[in-house]
Symmetry: C3
Subunit: 456 residues, 3 copies
Amino acid sequence: MSISVPEQASASEPTQTQAQARHTEPTAAGMAMANELAEQTRDQVDRVEAPPRRARPWQRYLEANLGLREYWYPAALSDALPEGGTHAVTMLGEEILLVRKNGKLYAVEDRCAHRGTRFSERPLVLSEDTITCWYHTWTFDMENGDLRCILNEPESALVGRTGVRAYPIVEAKGLLFVYIGDEEPPPLEADVPGSFLAADTVMHYAQPDIIRANWRLALENSFDPGHHFIHNWSPYVIESGFPMTFGYVAKKGEEAGETTYVVDAPGPKGFSRCTATAELIFSAVIPGKDGRPDTTYTAPAAVGKSREELISSFLAMPPIEVGIWLPSCNETVNFPSDMITFDWLVPIDENHTRSFMFGAKPCATEEEAEAWRGETGHTEWYVPTVEKFLIDDNKARESMQTFYEKENGWDRERLYRPDLEITMFRKFFSEHARDIQTPDKLIKPRSRRNPTRGRS
Amino acid sequence: MSISVPEQASASEPTQTQAQARHTEPTAAGMAMANELAEQTRDQVDRVEAPPRRARPWQRYLEANLGLREYWYPAALSDALPEGGTHAVTMLGEEILLVRKNGKLYAVEDRCAHRGTRFSERPLVLSEDTITCWYHTWTFDMENGDLRCILNEPESALVGRTGVRAYPIVEAKGLLFVYIGDEEPPPLEADVPGSFLAADTVMHYAQPDIIRANWRLALENSFDPGHHFIHNWSPYVIESGFPMTFGYVAKKGEEAGETTYVVDAPGPKGFSRCTATAELIFSAVIPGKDGRPDTTYTAPAAVGKSREELISSFLAMPPIEVGIWLPSCNETVNFPSDMITFDWLVPIDENHTRSFMFGAKPCATEEEAEAWRGETGHTEWYVPTVEKFLIDDNKARESMQTFYEKENGWDRERLYRPDLEITMFRKFFSEHARDIQTPDKLIKPRSRRNPTRGRS
Amino acid sequence: MSISVPEQASASEPTQTQAQARHTEPTAAGMAMANELAEQTRDQVDRVEAPPRRARPWQRYLEANLGLREYWYPAALSDALPEGGTHAVTMLGEEILLVRKNGKLYAVEDRCAHRGTRFSERPLVLSEDTITCWYHTWTFDMENGDLRCILNEPESALVGRTGVRAYPIVEAKGLLFVYIGDEEPPPLEADVPGSFLAADTVMHYAQPDIIRANWRLALENSFDPGHHFIHNWSPYVIESGFPMTFGYVAKKGEEAGETTYVVDAPGPKGFSRCTATAELIFSAVIPGKDGRPDTTYTAPAAVGKSREELISSFLAMPPIEVGIWLPSCNETVNFPSDMITFDWLVPIDENHTRSFMFGAKPCATEEEAEAWRGETGHTEWYVPTVEKFLIDDNKARESMQTFYEKENGWDRERLYRPDLEITMFRKFFSEHARDIQTPDKLIKPRSRRNPTRGRS
Ligand code: FES
Ligand code: FES
Ligand code: FES
Ligand SMILES: [Fe+2]
Ligand SMILES: [Fe+2]
Ligand SMILES: [Fe+2]
């Protein structure tokens, strides 16, 4: 089976536009599943709220400390790998060397099969499709990882009988994607939101950021209906005077209705939530104790504004839709205005996550596209979204790491109703993940069944 | 039972003065215990001196890696917590947020019951007696730790059914004390030397220091009769020309006589040693080997002075008395002159200790008190005691950490007679400690039996 | 038994010159052993090349994580220990204090027998042959480690009944050697190449370097026939235009013939390899795949030169001979010109190695010797060998550390024919090592059987 790369796809068949891709309509089966899942997890949250703890229905998710396996993930920006260059990355605990040579892309295990030296310390691409280890001259085929030859031992019987892992790699929309898994990879479209690949979408990229938190804490934050409170302190909110709610929490019993599951599209499995029916809370009462008076707390930017005023300014905006896609992509539509923000949260190791952030916009002309890649995208997307908003999400993501890493947080967490949507997501991942990355997979030799698998 | 805070005490009943508090006379029972303990531990040291090792009679002390539990400890200087402010500390492995709001003090677990976020990263005290987690708006009663409300989920069934730990906290003499334990706390007086609380005592505070050593190594140093040798290199000794002995070691068989046990006072359990009867050694002979001559070594500052001269200058001074009080307070009377030095050694974690040092002086007038808090205390106490003397104790305390942390020191240490007093102290702590802090207590949820315990 | 130090040797008996020492002729027994070992290990490599893995015949070597025990090792340059001074080192995991006092040398455990304080934090040598612990005055005989006296407890029954370890120490050729072991040490000559001790040899010393790699990875690199490829990027090679081969790999079946085993000399056990019969490869073909053309890669400095030209310039030079001697000395003869380079690789701990490098040259006059120690040695040896060549070996040594430390490298390595010589060396070490350093030996008290062993 061959991997259909996006470039081929866009050449050979009509491609959906971003606008088409974005508004995924729920299928009947999807709705049924949504309701069933919500029902089950609502029960679960009820039980969870009452100790003692029982087994979680998202056990598989709990084991996915290093991420999901058998998926395409962003590895680097295209710009990080110019022609003739190399770029070393760690993803899901695997050290990988990316190479671009004569216009072709390669991704190989960055660890020599001989004695473990990292190729990246002195990368030697001495022929068009091989990498030579700088220590003892073992030379590997970058397409399939096979040992092609050994410069100082030409007759070695090992040639063709050992090798390093090679990873499928494709480029799309200015990003390099690497497939982490042992099976034949599906087409890239299977793991990437349609709105990302849509022909008219133009990207404005931020430099990838490293978050000191497990990938699940990062990803959960992006979908977390109760977390919006933090953005009341985000520079964007303070400067714009446009208050955040205390959380886009669905009305009780309406959680499933907000959610659109996608399991049968050509694109990735996942779901999105439209916050149109959420409670809009800008003010809350803290009850006084022992007869002392209550305290009403109002979001700083909402002070002096009436509830009607606030709600009508919210309703005047196009509804924000938040999607979450396997293996770990967050997609936010219509924030801060008519664009899509992607935040791809790729596990580096158990305690670090690389965040790839892009602002996506459909552009009708190349002139418009050029402006979006440059100044317009910087001003309209990068500054308000990354610099003045996501920065607070990263702080929040990191703030839970100690609890989950060292204090048994996955067992000790105490969930409440808004977490229902997070648990739906955990269950969904547990059910639909192709496979899970585990520490033993990091050190076992490359798969024997598929020794010549490569990009060709 | 209510906690009687010192302010209340000094208002409602006659308080002993510092002078009264200091000279605790041994009771008959105390003397009997001292003799018995000394006898037992002398046997033990004899046995210890001859390998192989046997079980130690201070086993419980060996387990108290994180400190003693069910005690009041200094947490911070009052100055570190101004009105409306917060201050985060780690004590005995517990992360705690101190808050002063509308003149009242609070101490709460610095870890949200929801998903573990630290309140201190953005402390939100939105009403007079609550702390709101900045991540998802869970709001806790700072007096008893109960979940008071959730701003973005007002109807949550969890309200009142979960919470964080709240810690008793009181202020006395410019220090904030927090109670670490699950039981009803005793009055502060039970855990604080009387001389500290005495009405006429005025404190000069040093900034707390962090020692990279377990609290027991720090505390043992402060009582260690054999450690005085180190101070021959202390700037205070070198500059004053007043030599230190090689150790205030009691004469053989007189160890118990020097020691005054206190177990039945209203104040803390502990004991003090008056060094009046110690051997005064300023010079010692190192025997030569194989017929080579002996070498006599004399303390640098004692060179050229006769033994009579040295002893009479020592006897001219008021005798120095060293006290050690549960849970971990060291009190030194009459050094360098007529004042008391407190060195409170509070465990941070297994390998770090916070040292609170104050110079205490009875002052008759507010003018005198003001001077002591300022320039006089700085010159007469801070400089000679902290800057030019205790600095060497901290070096010594840290110098044993590797051995005890990584090299099995608690089993391998090889004690000698002067350590008898340290072992008396270890046995005393083993017998009288209310409880011991253990790692499992750091992560278990707050006590269920006492859910509403607070400062009120 | 007394240790004959080199100074005594050179005074009392005729010493072989460096020229004599260097050209060790193989004995018949040595040749037989070489052939047998080569045969066994060739079988082993064949088996190793085909998974699955079996037990290795160098098991003992695999356990020697901390080095070999019962050997003399360089501890420091003589210059690091002036008269009256002290110098603290860690070797094979043991912390040792070196002292030079009244012209005599001492090496004692840097950890007080009382409570583990490091003497080196304030070394007090108060008599000609004792070290006093700065904490509680325990005073130890530096020759045999015995507790000589306690300054503040003169009558202690512990005197003479406990102590610290003392280590044999000798000085030779500007280096301080310490013996790590429990048995009577052999003469220094047993553990040091004859060419090092030869009367006419003069040393030019580099400052010791710390390599972040296990000592075996460092030592294997120095003997590794396949590693020469790395030096094509060494500044010395680039600047001189004199290309390196891709590896001094012996012709198939001739590995044993190149190797001279030494097991019955007065000097250390070990072996040397003369590279005269190695294949000289400056160029190699990388086969093309799928009908694409082959690529020929030529060493940068060999480009434009004919093979005959290159080989004749190599043969014009005296043949380079590489020796490896127990416990961990690498000796390279005739590189870059007529001198010997020693690289003594002393384990610090499991993950760090101290490298002592010297350039040795026989000098006929004191004038010549003086020049070699100074400017001539700097220009002719230090710059080309250390600064511009060994620096790449250290990079290579460190490049395998992660694989062997964290990724199970000792089991996962996949050897090829040139590694035969490394496995011969591993087997040789496994068979001939006197003993192995293990973690339990680091913390057990000094040997009881030999309590007064010292330098006398
Ligand atoms: S480690 Fe790569 S060729 Fe040896
Ligand atoms: S972690 Fe505190 S409210 Fe969620
Ligand atoms: S630790 Fe050395 S004498 Fe006490
Ligand atoms: Fe957010
Ligand atoms: Fe002291
Ligand atoms: Fe080399």
